[in-house]
């Protein structure tokens, strides 16, 4: 017989502040954004939900999509590989100055996009002739360096929590260090790798700060999809167009999120208490 569970007041009370914040800062703005799309826009004067795909016809969208695809193809896989490689190396052996090393590796991750842009442009010097081709490597490089460090902390932490017994059993079974990393450690932190992948993909599609702060080069105005959406909403006052493009950006992330949830045991946790 199916047991009927009843929520306790304590649980509801504990969840209430987060739920209030979710409503005010997440769900209500999302509903407002979805409703806003149906209003008249510069690219759809009559106003309807067809703005969601009509906005894709803007001449700036295809280049911005190409830039996002570039980041997704080069920098997101590179970040995943580098984060996992450094986390596994840090976990593999004690190194003198390990504490300092982890702090230094984290440093690029704790600077803002603005500071990272300042550092990179100053380091590369004034003599570089920026063009559409090399500036995308600069933006990708900034996003890469500022994203890697914090994920190393998370993945290193998750590696540290793998049970000693499991690793010992694998070594007894004849695993070498490389096999231990690839066949035992990585599968055991796969949920966190999936989580990182989703957020890195979302970050690449939604990149905003780095190209905005590089606008002094004259090459990165409306470089990314977020910049085009921002331009619609806050420069031309076309909120319908801006939110329509933002919702378009959300679609691949939601698909990826659903695939992730469906293919992991994220929502399963046995009996509630």
């Amino acid at each position: 017989m199916r047991r009927v569970r009843k929520a306790r007041a304590g649980a509801l009370f504990m969840f209430a502040p987060y739920f209030a914040a979710m409503l005010f800062c997440g769900l209500i703005p999302l509903v407002v954004a979805i409703r806003e799309v149906a209003n008249p826009s510069w690219i759809n004067m009559k106003g309807s939900y067809t703005t969601i795909y009509r906005i894709l016809g803007d001449f700036r969208v295809i280049p911005a999509l190409a830039h996002a695809a570039f980041l997704l193809a080069i920098f997101v896989p590179a970040m995943i590989v580098v984060v996992l490689a450094i986390s596994l190396l840090l976990d593999a052996t004690p190194v003198r100055g390990n504490t300092l090393m982890r702090l230094v590796l984290l440093l690029p991750g704790i600077v803002s996009g603005g500071v990272a842009t300042l550092i990179w442009t100053s380091l590369l010097g004034p003599n570089i002739q920026w063009n559409g081709s090399n500036i995308r490597w600069l933006i990708g490089g900034i996003a890469f360096t500022s994203g890697v460090g914090s994920w190393i902390v998370i993945q290193y932490g998750s590696l540290r929590s793998i049970s000693h017994e499991v690793l010992e059993a694998a070594l007894v079974d004849g695993c070498n260090r490389f096999q231990l990393a690839i066949r035992i450690k990585l599968p055991m932190i796969s949920r966190y790798i999936g989580y990182m992948t989703i957020l890195l993909v979302a970050g690449a599609i939604q990149i905003y700060s780095e190209p905005t702060l590089l606008m002094s080069t004259g090459l990165t105005t409306d470089w990314s999809l977020s910049q085009v959406a921002y331009s619609y909403a806050f420069r031309t006052g076309d909120f319908a167009g801006g939110t329509a493009l933002s919702l378009d950006m959300l679609i691949p992330n939601i698909v990826l999120g659903i695939v992730f949830v469906m293919n992991t045991d994220f929502l399963k946790r046995g009996e509630r208490h």
């Binding site: 649980a11 979710m22 690029p108 600077v111 966190y192 905003y208 909403a233 909120f239 946790r269 208490h273």
Partner: protein
């Protein structure tokens, strides 16, 4: 790190890590040098930006950390209606582009007459789904059902479970959620840019943009110092293993 590598492979690993570390630290040494040279160029307004950044970050940090960790605990351990929906909504809202949220948030904050105020920015920044999701992951894997069941037998209610079991087992989680929430708020750029229009209110990242090329390195160092200090303070508990709890080794 449980089974350290030895011999040549250990040496290779150490050399690789030191090489990476050396490459990473170079730009920051340059920043430090440039900040000393830039100090005279930085303006008096910097102190006001520091004050606004500190007030905004601390207020939003306290709410976002407390609310997200308790929510993660509830979603992982306790029963609430629509629990799975809440988890999926947390994941979805985490992925919504900031641009999509900026305009509706501007309208909402304006509606409660808090536009151009630090309080309005604090309220708009108080939702931290990343922390809630990380906490959900942590409590799901680190707190065994048996332990919770024993807590119930001992007469613990929902608050008791959280206070006597959840908090003691999640010190490293508190450190890491606090650290990442701090970084997120301290470096926040897009939302303050939309919500703060009055010239008397600016956060450090906005000031960085205003000062570009004139004392920016000083602001850069000012932005870096609190984050480094917070990391050093919480490093030990972060490195204990963020997902180690009652059962892992």
């Amino acid at each position: 790190m449980s089974h350290p590598a030895k011999g040549k492979s250990a040496l290779l690993i150490k050399l690789t890590l030191w090489l990476i570390t050396f490459t990473v630290v170079l730009p920051f040494l340059w920043l430090l040098k440039a900040s000393v040279m830039d100090f005279a160029n930085s303006q008096a307004g910097v102190l006001a930006w520091v004050r606004d950044s500190v007030v905004f970050t601390l207020a939003a940090l306290i709410f976002s950390v407390l609310s997200s960790i308790t929510a993660g605990f509830v979603m992982a351990i306790l029963y609430i209606p629509f629990r799975k929906t809440m988890i999926v909504l947390t994941l979805i809202t985490m992925l919504i582009p900031a641009t999509a949220m900026a305009m509706p948030l501007y309208v909402l904050v304006d509606h409660i007459h808090l536009n151009d105020t630090i309080l309005g920015l604090v309220i708009a920044s108080s939702y931290y789904p990343f922390g809630a999701f990380l906490s959900y992951l942590y409590f799901s894997s680190a707190m065994p059902g048996d332990l919770v069941g024993m807590g119930r037998i001992d007469g613990l209610g929902d608050w008791g479970l959280f206070y006597h079991l959840g908090i003691p087992l999640s010190k490293s989680l508190w450190s890491i959620v606090t650290f990442f929430s701090f970084i997120n708020l301290w470096n926040s750029y897009q939302l303050p840019k939309v919500l703060l229009n009055a010239p008397e209110h600016s956060t450090l990242p906005m000031g960085l943009e205003l000062l570009y090329g004139r004392g920016t390195a000083t602001v850069g160092i000012l932005m870096l110092i609190p984050a480094v200090l917070l990391y050093l303070l919480s490093q030990r508990s972060i490195e204990r293993g963020i997902f180690s709890g009652a059962v892992t080794g």
